[in-house]
Symmetry: C2
DNA sequence: CAAACATATGAATTGTTGTTCATATGTTAT
DNA sequence: ATAACATATGAACAACAATTCATATGTTTG
């Protein structure tokens, strides 16, 4: 063990451009922020949830509305709304037994619009 | 079978706000577009890939650079670069045996910046 | 051409995620 | 209070995705 040098460690990284790597590393945001950012995009990264968000572009909708609109189970929709809610992308408004959902803020609109631009080009 | 009416079908969707649903449905983009959009966000929705993209904010980097920067295997990085490349988020530039990657266009920057805003508020 | 190197790829494995089914919670009306 | 209804939740299952390991491809150097 003591005799091992670090050739084995370096091996496979011989081509590294050290100066650049150092600089980039110093500019990187905290790991936690990057993790949160990935989590945010993950929420957008499902076609069911995108459909729900797009539907909410147009109007405030209750769970049943969304379920029928997309041809999904009430349960499936409810589960996905929970994900969207915990990502702060939608917000609920309770009225009697029904719960109406709407977009939480304008970031959602902007982000989706921006994404659509990339997809459409 | 012939005797069955559609009460069972309707059951569970009694609360639907039909007019709204109709309108929203007519405004929805094609399913395929929504699917593509979800696919795009899915690519952003992984912390390893977000880290790679953020690193490329600062500089053009080769596979080894990225691997060392993030403490990952060369193989893992290469696999993820393939995903990023097929989502048209990064582009390769070959120089001898090494391949340098950079951001494909400015949408990437904009989208990530927008996402970061949402996360940071 | 052979060896060293940078990157890419395929298969296997493990962890994650979306949907379904059954059921629970909470609200309105009779 | 009981029944009907809207939504939420938990467990189970199936599909998917990220990493690792082994190896292949393609490029440069001796």
């Amino acid at each position: 063990m003591a005799d091992m040098n670090d050739i084995i460690e370096r091996c496979g990284f011989l081509c590294v451009h050290e100066a650049t790597v150092e600089r980039v590393l110093s500019e990187m945001p905290a790991d936690e922020k990057l993790y949160d950012l990935a989590e945010l995009f993950k929420v957008f990264g499902d076609s069911t949830r995108i459909k729900i968000l797009y539907a909410l572009f147009e109007a405030e909708l209750c769970v049943c509305d969304i379920a029928q609109l997309l041809g999904l189970t009430q349960s499936a929709v409810s589960h996905q709304l929970r994900v969207l809610k915990s990502g702060r992308l939608v917000k609920p408004r309770k009225e009697g037994k029904t719960v109406f959902y709407s977009l939480a803020d304008d970031h959602v609109r902007t982000l989706i619009a921006q994404g659509m631009e990339h997809v459409e080009e």
